[in-house]
Structure formats: structure tokens, C-alpha cells
């Protein structure tokens, strides 16, 4: 799905990512792990060009989505983001009704037909395992939902766009254990239909839900392999030390 070649990212003078080469397969869950500041979040945001929002950010190298370089001048950023969705660390539903939140994306793309929108909303909410909890109150404000529900709403919002890839930046770090569990289960379901890339600080979470794991350290990609390999016998000492918690 993604093929990254010799990619580097600078924020002004400071180097955030150095020479990243990685291939991400479709319909798998890939986890990005590494200590704070290692660049994993920056890399994630490069995949849907959210780094464009930061003025000093400069990218070198090639990031290909299904063969096309997304940083090419001709590539449509808006189109990219409809294909590559993102769920953030703190749930960020808009201060609107639940229904309006879910259909926000499609509406911006021009979908106006009320019936179509309702169908889209129902499908997305069902996929996000939230439909039963909210179907009777779609017009209530999204801010009334609990943290876990809000996060699932954000996932539904992304799903409503029918993306191919879902990027998740520490999606459960602000949630309680039960909400976390629900979302992990959801991710394990969703991977049948979507390519999922998740940044996480929680080693056990990465071990539980991912197929492949990438370990980042100080802007470099140190090791990328099957999750079983990484968590049982990683190739590199640094990876081993991080996973066993011998350094933060």
C-alpha cells in the first residue's frame, strides 16, 4: 500500500526523520513504536500530509501510495486525505450532533441527498461498533458521549469517507481500559477491510493487535518485522532494550 524510499523530514534546521525506507502492506495492522520524540508520529503524519500544516516542515524522498508519489506537485492533497484517514490521540469530535459529525466528510465532498447521508452514517456507525449506543439519539450533541464513545465516533467519521488506510496516532492513550479494549477489538475487526497504521506507546497493545511492528529511534527506522519476531527475538540490541524496557 505504502512504499517509502529514502524519506527525510526536517523542521527547519532540526532533523526529525532520517532516511526512512519501509513498505507497508495492505489490510494489515502495522504498529509504530519507539520512545518519545523518536519521529514515529511525525512519520505517521507524513503519510497523509498533515505535516503540510507546519510551515517549517520539509520533506525529501518519495512516499508512494499505491505507486503514486503523494508529495508530487500534481497530487491532490484533499483527495489523499479522503483515501488516508486519521484518528487522533485525544478524541476530537466537532461541537455538533452525532449525525453531523459522521457525515461531515461526505458533506464536504458534495453529498447532499438526505437519504444517502443517513445510509452512510448508519453504515459507518455500525462499522465502528457505535450504532447500537447512539441510533436513538443521532441528533444529540456529540460532546455528551463518553471518551471511548467519542473516539469511536471519530473512527466512524473517518470510516464514512470509505478510506483505504486509517492512521491512528495513540488512539487509546486518553481512554480508560475498557474503552481501550473496545477500540482494540474494533481495530482487529477493521483490519479485514482496511490498512491500519497505529502509533502506540503501549508495548502490550502493539503486541496484541499488530501484524507488523516498526521500531523508531531518534528519527531512524531501526527495525521493521513481523510482530512475533520483534517481541520474541528482535534482531537489534536497541530494539531488544526498548521492548524490555531497559531504556525509555
Amino acid at each position: 500500500m505504502f512504499k517509502v524510499e529514502n524519506m527525510s523530514l526536517h523542521y527547519g534546521e532540526k532533523m526529525a526523520l532520517d532516511n526512512i525506507n519501509i513498505e507497508i502492506k495492505e489490510k494489515e495492522v502495522t504498529a509504530f513504536i519507539g520512545p518519545s520524540g523518536c519521529g514515529k508520529s511525525s512519520f505517521l503524519r507524513s503519510l497523509n500530509r498533515m505535516n503540510d500544516l507546519i510551515e517549517e516542515a520539509k520533506i525529501e524522498g518519495i512516499v508512494k501510495l499505491k505507486g503514486e508519489n503523494i508529495y508530487d506537485k500534481k497530487y491532490d492533497v484533499i483527495d489523499l486525505r479522503t483515501k488516508v484517514g486519521m484518528v487522533f490521540q485525544s478524541p476530537n469530535p466537532f461541537p455538533m450532533s452525532i449525525f453531523e459529525n459522521v457525515v461531515y466528510g461526505p458533506k464536504r465532498q458534495g453529498v447532499r441527498n438526505k437519504k444517502t447521508l443517513r445510509e452512510i452514517a448508519e453504515k459507518a456507525l455500525k462499522q465502528a461498533a457505535l450504532w447500537e449506543e447512539v441510533s436513538s439519539r443521532l441528533n444529540e450533541s456529540a460532546m455528551k458521549l463518553s471518551g471511548g464513545q467519542q473516539q469511536r465516533l471519530c473512527i466512524a467519521r473517518t470510516l464514512a469517507m470509505e478510506p483505504e488506510v486509517i492512521l491512528m496516532d495513540e488512539p487509546t492513550s486518553a481512554l480508560d481500559p475498557i474503552a481501550t479494549q473496545k477500540i482494540e477489538d474494533l481495530i482487529r475487526e477493521l483490519k479485514n477491510d482496511y490498512t491500519i497504521i497505529i502509533v502506540t506507546h503501549n508495548m502490550q497493545q502493539a503486541a496484541r493487535i499488530s501484524d507488523k511492528t516498526a521500531f523508531f529511534y531518534m528519527g531512524e527506522l531501526i527495525e521493521f518485522d513481523k510482530t512475533t519476531k520483534i517481541f520474541n527475538k528482535p534482531k537489534y540490541d536497541q530494539t531488544e532494550k526498548y521492548i524490555t524496557g531497559r531504556f525509555g
Binding site: A207, K229, F231, N232, K233, T244, F247
Partner: protein
């Protein structure tokens, strides 16, 4: 600051316990063979008492391993070490049991007139004891090549056991030895062979701890 201090401490404790268990087991092997040869009843009884402790230790170590797993969620090398220990103490305990079995035979054959290990059996015993010592050493020094060498030694022990068996069968047929003595001697030989097997297992678990690969189970 040492990270994962408590995990490290718990692992150190585990290793100490394994050391204690191994020391007791090795002593039991040595003493059981000696007791058999010397027809030393008291010694045999001592061996049985010590085995109770060995069993207790296996229990304790198992419990500690499980506690580390649910508490510390070890990964990678920590995980392999801890699960490896969990498996090898079973083999260690079995070795202890077999030493006790030999002690039991000493007790059973106290009245019999006889006891000696014939040369082949003595040879087997020497190698088996060495294998146990080496397997324990290899574990504490993470010495994979020593472990591999020790595993190979098992073939020798097996070959020797075949020899003893054939010899026994032959002598039975010729009615050249006392049946009771012969049978019990065979038993002892079998127990020695089993001890060697278990020592091999311990070596295999050591290799798993270091490399993640086990003859039967491969995680990677």
C-alpha cells in the same frame, strides 16, 4: 538508574532458586549412585528427604515465574528466560525423581546380596552426571556451544544403555546372573538413561532462551 529494577531483582531471585534446586539435585544423583554401590540405607533415606525439598522448590519457582508474567509482562529475552526456566525446572525435578528412584531401589535391594554397578553402568553414570552438571553450567553462563555438545553426549548414553540391555538379556538367557539383581540393575541403568535425557532437555531449553528456537517449539 536501572530501569525495570524489580524485574531484574525477580529474575535474580529465580536464578538463585534454580541454583539451589540444581545443587540439591546434583547432590542427590551423586549420593544415590554411591548409596546403591555401598548399600547405604541411611543415605538413601536422606536422599528421599532432600527430594521433598526439590519438589517444593519446583513449586515455588513455578509460582514466581507466573507472578513475573502477570506482573511485569516480560517481553523478548526476559520472556524467553522466564518461560525457559519454567520448562527446565520440570526436567530438573524429574532428574531429582530419578535419583530418588535409584535410592528407592537401594532400599528395596537392601537384603540382596550383590550390588554393584557393572562397568558399563558406571560409565553411563559418569557421563550422565557430567551432562547434568554441564547443562546447569550452560544455563548459568548462557553457553550455547556447551549445551549443544552436551546434547550430543546423549547418544553415547543411549548406546551404552542398549549395550547394558543386550548384556542383561544375554546373561538372563544364559542364566548367568541372579534375576532379581539383574532386573534391578536394569532399572538403575534405565533411570540413569532418563537422567541423561532430561539433562538434554535442559540444554534444549537453554538454547531456546538464547535463540528463541526450540526443537519442538519455534516462536519465530
Amino acid at each position: 538508574m536501572v530501569l525495570r529494577k524489580w524485574l531484574e531483582l525477580a529474575i535474580e531471585e529465580l536464578k538463585k532458586d534454580v541454583n539451589k534446586m540444581a545443587t540439591l539435585v546434583i547432590k542427590n544423583i551423586t549420593d544415590s549412585l554411591k548409596a546403591f554401590e555401598e548399600n547405604n540405607l541411611e543415605e538413601a533415606l536422606e536422599i528421599k528427604k532432600r527430594d521433598v525439598e526439590v519438589d517444593k522448590l519446583e513449586d515455588e519457582i513455578s509460582k514466581k515465574v507466573l507472578e513475573i508474567i502477570w506482573k511485569e509482562q516480560p517481553l523478548a529475552s526476559d520472556l524467553r528466560l522466564v518461560t525457559g526456566i519454567y520448562k527446565l525446572i520440570t526436567d530438573l525435578e524429574r532428574i531429582g525423581d530419578h535419583a530418588t528412584d535409584i535410592a528407592n531401589i537401594t532400599i528395596k535391594t537392601a537384603e540382596l546380596d550383590h550390588q554393584r554397578l557393572i562397568p558399563i553402568t558406571t560409565q553411563m553414570a559418569t557421563i550422565a552426571k557430567e551432562m547434568v552438571l554441564n547443562s546447569v553450567d550452560a544455563f548459568f553462563t548462557f553457553d550455547v556451544s556447551l549445551a549443544e555438545k552436551t546434547i550430543k553426549k546423549d547418544d553415547e548414553v543411549d548406546a551404552l544403555f542398549d549395550k547394558v540391555t543386550n548384556l542383561a538379556i544375554a546373561e538372563f538367557k544364559e542364566e548367568e546372573i541372579d534375576a532379581e539383581f539383574g532386573v534391578y540393575l536394569l532399572f538403575v541403568a534405565k533411570y540413569i538413561e532418563r537422567i541423561a535425557d532430561h539433562a538434554t532437555n535442559i540444554c534444549e531449553w537453554l538454547i531456546y532462551i538464547v535463540s528463541g528456537k526450540h526443537r519442538e517449539v519455534s516462536l519465530i
